[in-house]
Symmetry: C2
Subunit: 131 residues, 2 copies
Amino acid sequence: MEELLIENGLRATKARMEVLNVLKSNSMPLSADELILKINREVVSGSSVYRILSELEKASILKKTLRQNGLHYYTIYDSHEHYIVCSNCGKIVPITHCPISPYEEGIAQNTGFKVTGHILELQGICSDCQG
Amino acid sequence: MEELLIENGLRATKARMEVLNVLKSNSMPLSADELILKINREVVSGSSVYRILSELEKASILKKTLRQNGLHYYTIYDSHEHYIVCSNCGKIVPITHCPISPYEEGIAQNTGFKVTGHILELQGICSDCQG
DNA sequence: GTGGATGCAAACCATTTGCACGCCA
DNA sequence: TGGCGTGCAAATGGTTTGCATCCAC
């Protein structure tokens, strides 16, 4: 964890370690809000959480995604990519296998864009909420 | 346009017509901001634009999408679905053909969700910005 | 010791909402 | 005419920022 920061030219401060540790121990992406709740408030303040998340994202340590619920979610970069979100209760479940990647080359040719990534958010009703 | 409103149980007011007409004459989704700029301000105020957009979305006349730039974009429901966004200048270009739909059935089986839709946003650098 | 990192509180900005007035059915 | 629709301005809520202080190096 400490190495991860230093490798990327960032100081290994207590606050940054705390944020990374909480994210590491969660397999699912967390919103800033959720993170602030799980964090030791003695070690990091709310505004620092935002500043740290933004730095870690710039350093490509974290991936930031804006969901349709209006909140930003953060996750360590190599974690799972896509999720389906329950429109009723907000539950999220990972999608295994990404159907987009194979299409990126063709899209690049059709549009002239250099494709750098994609955001995919499946929406639905989870089994618990279908009743 | 007037019929479209009445069919959906909404009064055909000048303000709603104006919003729908501006959206109709644009093939690309518009943000509330862009809409407010294009609209006749004598006919609709800013806050009413938001209220109208929200009603039209509830009535399933408009589709609302939150892009990664943090803005909501609105479009008449049958319009094009997916776009690639330039991370540098913000230009958007439609993607022909949606690679997701064929996978929705399988995802439903794997997750137990009833799949109701998806948001896909491709990200890249447009040809003008690649220099 | 010194410059980057943090805490606090105030600023931001898109969007939402309360309330009084105005217009459509 | 009655009530939905609208305008204005103030509130909201997640996120950002200015500035003084603190700590990692």
